[in-house]
Amino acid sequence: MEKTVNQRAWLLVIPVLILVAFSSIIPMMTVVNYSFQDSFGGNEFFWVGLEWYRELLHSERLWDAFGRQLLFSFIILLIEIPLGILVALSMPKKGFAASICLVLMSLPLLIPYNVVGTIWQVFGRADIGLLGRALSDLGISYNYSQNAFDAWATVIMMDVWHWTSLVALLSYAGLRSIPSAYYQAAKIDQAGRWSVFRHIELPKMRGVLMIAILLRFMDSFMIYTEPFVLTGGGPGNATTFLSIDLVKMALGQFDLGPAAAFSLMYFLVILLISYVFYTVMITADKNEANR
């Protein structure tokens, strides 16, 4: 379906522009202004030039948080994407069972982020939680508030619990769009399960999987509430991801200048990643259409 060129379409977009400009451009401008100044009491400002940037770029705190963040997002993708595909392939195709699975799987997605944190906070405690109790009964020492490794394991497990369903639902939607003729053809060719997956299902899921990777990467890259409730960024700084560190700086210490410089650099990284993903997606779409 070719779209027609119509410049008056701009009129329809104006409300969105105004609203998003109000809640995105004005705050971004403010962040830029703050990042070059020092403030006293939040209303007196002094020009300090690039001081905050220099300080942050030479501080280990920022780089550590950045490294942790990258590692976390990478692990999340590594677990959730294959697991989500596996679950989607295992889902019942239709009928009552499919509805039940859909509803139950969506449930974690609808739980407020802080309640997700609370659920796992309770679940993992050795005194009152099922998981913590079971592990300690098995003789495994496990304490997510003392041991950095346990904290990481819990945060990752929590995120897998929370978001794998999203990947699964997206993949499921992709699988549903495959015409049954494809499967019949594969059957005639006596194709095995693996080659059906490799040559029919995976290519058809490519579009939704790309979206899934983008969303999971971005959302895990800005994760805040769940680890904040679960571990508070600890033990020590072990689970202090970028957003947790930033909020600590901005709202905890109310350091307007450094927090603004931090925000701006964070945003630049996000902008770069979004642009790369978006361009790859658009280019893939175009190639698909030309084929």
Partner: protein, 278 residues
């Protein structure tokens, strides 16, 4: 001859599928189950003994919440700003999504990308400037402030989902209506909107959901009057006198609205996720 082993193979394959599915659902549901039964236990039972099922079934925790305005007003506040946000997002997103789905215009791709970046931007970046912005226009601690702040990610989301649904409606319908003498406004409200009603429903669901689950911005922008339930819960957590039973009950009550809406959109949800690129 070759038919039989193939059949057996498929059946064993489906048995494996069922196993994977059951294991996955169990993994999802056990933590929720733990929260639910905890909300029916007394604190003495939670801390004193380890039971898989509440020994002394009690509704006291829920009574505490429904008897204390500082608890239940949290739910009311959340509902107010979530509904406001859903309505605002839909109202501005509907025309924009129509424009993106039907026309090419100057800068459309760049505009779309710009909207995407707002969906991807970390709320933590915006928490501080939002706090300053809404304080300066004296909207701090109002429902509308939170509703507007959540538009940052919900409006782009609504535009994408709606655009996906609208692209599925053939253009001929628009053209026929215009030939029949319908003006744009009348066509849009009388014909087009009813046609994409399921899409609007799914969009509303996602706006509702993302506004409902968000904590950081809603906590930053409120203090007393509009404090949402999620913020009240984290406050309770950080205060050291932990009342686990009440906390669990409050958590269960935040899950219920989502569970109810999801039942209504269950048949569209997979499609919605795919279109919405949420």
């Amino acid at each position: 001859m070759s038919d039989k082993p193939a059949k057996r193979k498929r059946r064993s394959g489906s048995r494996l599928s069922i196993l994977v599915m059951i294991a996955y659902l169990a993994f999802l549901l056990v933590p929720i189950y733990w929260l639910v039964i905890m909300s029916f236990k007394s604190n003495a039972e939670i801390l004193g003994m380890f039971t898989l099922f509440p020994e002394n079934f009690t509704l006291d925790n829920y009574r505490t919440i429904f008897g204390d305005p500082s608890w239940y007003m949290g739910y009311v506040n959340s509902f107010i700003y979530v509904s406001l946000n859903t309505v605002i997002s839909l109202l501005v997103a509907l025309p924009a999504a129509y424009a993106f789905s039907r026309f090419r215009f100057f800068g459309d791709n760049h505009l779309f990308f710009w909207l995407l970046t707002n969906r991807m931007a970390p709320p933590a970046v915006f928490a501080l400037p939002f706090f300053q912005l809404y304080s300066s226009v004296s909207l701090f601690d109002t429902h509308i402030a939170v509703a507007l702040a959540h538009c940052l990610f919900n409006v782009p989301l609504a535009v994408w989902i709606l655009e996906g649904f609208m692209r599925g409606v053939p253009r001929e319908i628009d053209e026929t209506a215009f030939i029949d003498g319908y003006g744009f406004t009348r066509f849009f409200t009388r014909i087009f909107i009813p046609m994409i009603a399921p899409g609007i429903g799914v969009t509303a669901f996602f706006c509702f959901m993302f506004s409902w689950v968000e904590l950081l911005l809603s906590r930053t922008l409120t203090s007393v009057e509009a404090k949402p339930i999620t913020a009240i819960m984290t406050r309770t957590v950080s205060a050291s006198g932990l009342d686990w039973g009440v906390l669990a009950a409050a958590g269960v009550l935040t899950i219920i609205p989502g569970a109810i809406v999801i039942y209504f959109v269950r048949n569209h949800i997979a499609k919605g996720f795919a279109l919405g690129r949420v």
